[in-house]
C-alpha cells in the first residue's frame, strides 16, 4: 500500500476583505509522486502551498505532511518538508556555503551529516566553483540551483517548488527543469510543484490538479486529462460570431459538448474522427473560416474546456 505524503481536506482560505483565495479543496499526494498545482495567476496555487508550509493560516480545513498535521504539529510538519520559493530567498551578502550551512543547522543536521550533505548537493548541482563566493555575485541560474540544493540538504520527505522557473531565461529554465526531472526519476521524494507553464506540468508531473478561482476543477495524470480530448483537436478561426458557427457545426453532427471557444477561435476535439473529414465537412457547410489547424491537445485545452479561460501565460 502506498503511503500518502500530502493529505488535504476541505482546505479554505478567505483573506480579510472577503477574498476567497482557496475554496474547500481536497487532494492527496502519494509518496514519491510529483504533483502539479496548475493554474493561472490568482488561481490559488501559492496560497495552497502557503497553507501547506505554514505561512498562510487556513480559514477552514486541514492538511497533513507525511502524517503530521500542519496546524497541530507545525514543527514536525516543517521538519519533513522544504520549500523553493517563487522569488529569490537567500542571504545575498553571505557565501553560498554559509547559506547552506545555516539551513542545515536550522533543519537539525549534525555537523558531520551537514558537511556530507553539503558536499553531495554542491557537486550534484554544479556549484563547486561558486560555493565560496557571496551569493550577490551569482547568476540567476546559479542562485536558483543554490536554492534547490538548499531545499534538498535535509532530504525532505515533501519538497514544495513554488513556480520555480518563473522569471528565468529559457536556457536557465530548461537547465532547472532537467534538475527537477532528475529528482523525479530518483522517486524517493514527494514533490509538489506549482506552475502556470503547461510544458513543465506535462513533462514533470505524475498527476496535476488544475486550479481555477480557488477550486480544483480537474485532477488526474496529464495524459489522462489529455485523453479526454482525444488525440487531435481542430482549431477553427472564424470571422464573426463563433456561436453561430458552433450552432451550424452541431447541426451537422460535428461538434459535441466539449467544443470550446476563445475569441474568434473554436477548438473542436476530434475524438478519433479524421481531420480531413472534419475539414471536408466544414467546407461543405460553407463556413466563413480564416484558418483551420489540427494539433495535439494540450493542458491549455483541458483548462479552457473546464473554465472558459486561457491557462497559458500571455
Amino acid at each position: 500500500m502506498t503511503s500518502l505524503a500530502v493529505e488535504v481536506r476541505g482546505l479554505t482560505k478567505t483573506y480579510s476583505g472577503g477574498v476567497q483565495a482557496v475554496r474547500e479543496i481536497d487532494f492527496d499526494v502519494r509518496s514519491g509522486e510529483v504533483f502539479g498545482l496548475l493554474g493561472p495567476n490568482g488561481a490559488g496555487k501559492s496560497t495552497t502551498v502557503g497553507m501547506l508550509t505554514g505561512t498562510v493560516a487556513p480559514t477552514a480545513g486541514s492538511a497533513r505532511l507525511a502524517g503530521r498535521e500542519v496546524a497541530g504539529e507545525p514543527l514536525e510538519a516543517r521538519r519533513v518538508s522544504a520549500v523553493v520559493f517563487q522569488e529569490a530567498v537567500v542571504d545575498r551578502p553571505l557565501t553560498g556555503r554559509r547559506n547552506l550551512e545555516i539551513h542545515a543547522r536550522l533543519w537539525g543536521l549534525g555537523a558531520g551529516a551537514a558537511a556530507r550533505r553539503l558536499r553531495e548537493v554542491v557537486d550534484a548541482f554544479g556549484l563547486r566553483e561558486v560555493i565560496d563566493r557571496p551569493v550577490s555575485s551569482y547568476s540567476g541560474g546559479q542562485r536558483r540551483r543554490l536554492e534547490l540544493s538548499r531545499a534538498l540538504l535535509s532530504e525532505p520527505q515533501v519538497l514544495f517548488l513554488d513556480e520555480p522557473t518563473v522569471g528565468l531565461d529559457p536556457l536557465i529554465r530548461y537547465e532547472l527543469l532537467d534538475l527537477i526531472d532528475g529528482l523525479r526519476r530518483r522517486g524517493e521524494m514527494t514533490v509538489v510543484l506549482t506552475t502556470h507553464y503547461l510544458d513543465e506540468a506535462e513533462r514533470l508531473c505524475d498527476r496535476v490538479a488544475i486550479m481555477h478561482a480557488g477550486r480544483i476543477v480537474a485532477l488526474d495524470a496529464p495524459q489522462a486529462l489529455l485523453r479526454a480530448l482525444g488525440t487531435e483537436v481542430l482549431e477553427v478561426r472564424v470571422d464573426g460570431d463563433p456561436t453561430a458557427t458552433l450552432t451550424r457545426l452541431r447541426a451537422h453532427g460535428m461538434a459535441t459538448d466539449d467544443v470550446f471557444s476563445l475569441g474568434g477561435t473554436l477548438t473542436i476535439p476530434l475524438h478519433g474522427s479524421s481531420a480531413e473529414a472534419a475539414v471536408l465537412t466544414i467546407n461543405q457547410i460553407g463556413l466563413n473560416t480564416t484558418e483551420l489547424t489540427t494539433r495535439r491537445p494540450t493542458l491549455d485545452d483541458v483548462y479552457l474546456r473546464l473554465t472558459g479561460g486561457r491557462l497559458a501565460a500571455a
Binding site: 483573506y15 498562510v56 521538519r79 553531495e120 557537486d123 524517493e188
Partner: protein, 287 residues
Amino acid sequence: MVTIATPASRPTASRPLAPTSPRSARALSTLVRRRFALSVRTPRELLVPLLTPVLFALVIAPALADQVTNVGGIDYMSFVAIATVGLLLPLSCMSAGIGVLVDRESGARRDLIAAPLRRPLIVFGNLTVALAVSALQLAVLIGAAVLRGAQFSSGSTGIMWFVAASLGLVVIMYGAAETLANRIPTQEEYVAALPAVAIVPWFFAGSLFPVNALPAGLAAFAKVLPLTHVLAVMRYGLVDHRGTGLHDIWGMSSPTAMALLSLAVVAAYAVLLTVVAVRVFNRATVQ
C-alpha cells in the same frame, strides 16, 4: 547542461524521517550567528549609529560644559556623557531594524519561517545581536567620553545599575525597531520614521537638562518616557549617587528604592515592546 550525480537511492518506505528536532538553543545560536554575519558585512549598522553620539561626546559636550559647569552638583561633561548613551542605543537599535526590512524584502527570511523552529526565536536572535552590537558601541562611546574628560565614579553596584538600564533600553528600542520594521512597508518610510522614534524622545528625557526644567506638562510627559527612567538610573549608577534625577521623577527620599522603581518601569516597557514585536512579527509572517 548540469548532470545530477545522485547518491544511491533508498526505498521510500525504509527512509528515515528527516533529522532530529533541533533544540531551540541550537536554532537560536544559528540565528544569532547568521544575523551577526550579516551585520558585520554591513558597517552601516556598526558605525553610523556611533557618529552622532561620539560627535556629541567629543565636541558638543565639552563645549556645553564650558558654559554650564554643573547640573545639580554633577559635572556637566559627565552629565551629558550619559545622555549620549541615551542617544546611541536608540539609534543603534533602530539601525538594526533596517536589517529586518532587508531580510524581509530580499533576504532569506522566508526560509527561516519555513524552518522547524519556533518563529519568535528569529526575533530573539536579532535582539541578541542588537545587544552585542550595542555593547560594543557603548564601550567605544564611554571610552571616548572618558578620554575627553568625563568622570565616572562607581563601584560594581553602580556599574550594575548602568548595565541594567542599558540592557532595558536596548530591549525596548529593539522591540520598537522590530515592530516598525514589520509594519512599515518600505525602507524609505522606515528611515524617515527613525528620527521621530530614536531622537525626539531624547530631547524630553532629561538628556541635556533635568526634567524639572521643562514646563509642567512636558515634565509630566517626560516622566512617562522610558528613556527618562533609563538616564536617571544610568546617572545614579555612574555620576549621580544622590539620585537627583530619580528624585525629579519620583520625589522620594531613598535613591535605591527610586532606582528600583525606575528599573521596574523600564522592565515593564521592555516586556511590553518585546511581546508586541513578537506578535507583529508573527502577523507579518503568517497571513
